[in-house]
Symmetry: C2
Subunit: 243 residues, 2 copies
């Protein structure tokens, strides 16, 4: 079959490209909430793809609650508040300010996570956290393994809160940050900073093991601040949070 003339040449799949394009148009305000999208056929012509591809793209956006399609009428843009999913634009994180804000959110979640975990964690929770910590301090300080153990550590704490939503949200935010960092600079030895990083984790673990919520929370907050500065993000806007 002859190849249609595509909009852009890329490795990404067509539905994803169409979805991204529509998503940006909606996010950017080109199409206001409540407005109707062009028909599937029109979109197919516009992007130079088949109607089938357009439908798959719309299926993705519809799953997020970004648009709503009604049979016989058309597809409509929905208000951004009633999304059924949270999605973070990886591109936006290249902006230092956005990364800073995401770190601030992470700080909030993780600080409280550590606080709750200190009060609730059982012995097996502590074992899991300790295991992750050992992996970090162990021989596999090389790039990937270390980062993986780092995430494992934080997830283990989140799990120790006993709150599945906290676990989900923290996992998500951390993963977004990790991938964004990993993408920005692939090589990151800096062994002296690794030592600092491990030391911060040890302090968190000690507070958790002592079941001291306040100490755990503060250790975690300092750690996130440190982690942020280590990747070049300064949480300048530090407020005198209720401490």
């Amino acid at each position: 079959m002859k190849q249609r003339s595509s909009i852009i040449g890329s490795v990404e799949a067509l539905p994803h490209r169409v979805a991204s394009h529509l998503s940006r148009e909606i996010e950017g305000g080109d199409i206001i909430p409540g407005a109707r999208l062009p028909t599937e056929s029109q979109l197919a012509d516009k992007f130079g793809v088949s109607r089938n591809v357009v439908r798959e793209a719309i299926a993705q956006l519809r799953a997020d609650g970004m648009i709503e399609a009604r049979q016989g009428i058309g597809a409509f843009v929905m208000a951004p508040e009633q999304r059924t999913a949270i999605r973070i634009d990886r591109e936006a994180l290249k902006d230092q300010r956005n990364m800073e804000q995401l770190f601030e959110l992470r700080s909030i979640l993780e600080t409280e996570s550590a606080t709750l975990a200190a009060a609730r964690c059982a012995s097996d929770d502590l074992d899991a956290i300790k295991a992750a910590l050992d992996r970090m301090g162990g021989e596999e300080r090389w790039e990937d393994g270390s980062i993986e153990a780092d995430l494992l550590f934080h997830r283990a704490i989140a799990r120790a809160t006993g709150n599945g939503y906290i676990y989900t949200f923290i996992s998500f935010v951390c993963e977004q940050i990790r991938q964004s960092i990993h993408y920005a600079r692939l090589t990151n030895p800096l062994h002296d900073l690794v030592e600092v990083n491990v030391a911060e984790h040890v302090r968190i673990y000690d507070a958790l093991a002592a079941h001291d919520p306040q100490a755990a929370g503060e250790a975690m907050r300092r750690h996130i601040d440190g982690a942020a500065s280590r990747v070049g993000v300064e949480l300048t806007a530090k407020i005198n949070r209720g401490k």
Copy 2:
């Protein structure tokens, strides 16, 4: 065209039903991460739908990072940690314990949101918050309008933090809770409780207007606790959070 024999009779669209079914199978552990899904044709036969429908369902799951399709090989289940989107199962919120956990997460986010907002909010931010408050206390205390103004109030505070991610996360969590409540019990007069609710909001606003972070945070925490108990959810596991 003759109607195929569908799995279940429902008003939901076919792709969504297939996606939900697959999602539950993955979430439930029936298909472990890394495993390969049946081919599109097999799934089409299994669900009694066309391959087109299966592809739309997979498109949704793929957008969430739940599965990954590789041309020429098949579709594979991915680890739950590397999802690219957060989605909350509305069904699961019917379980009191899950609702309780979601409220706890909301408490964390909103408390810190109020704290930050108190330190950062500008006069126009306060105006927006005040406007929402007036709408709540105003004449439209009837069901929907009141709840809408309530959400508007909380969103205005989140916006005043200047952190877009905090706004997104809080909007999302609040919306999930609202829809779940709205679904559970459609009628909710209880006018005396409405007065209490408004009073709590006033206290939050006063703290924000006074730019008192600690007072704002505590007022918000008390409000969320109160809101939870008003819908029958007790945040029993209250910890001595770093006060």
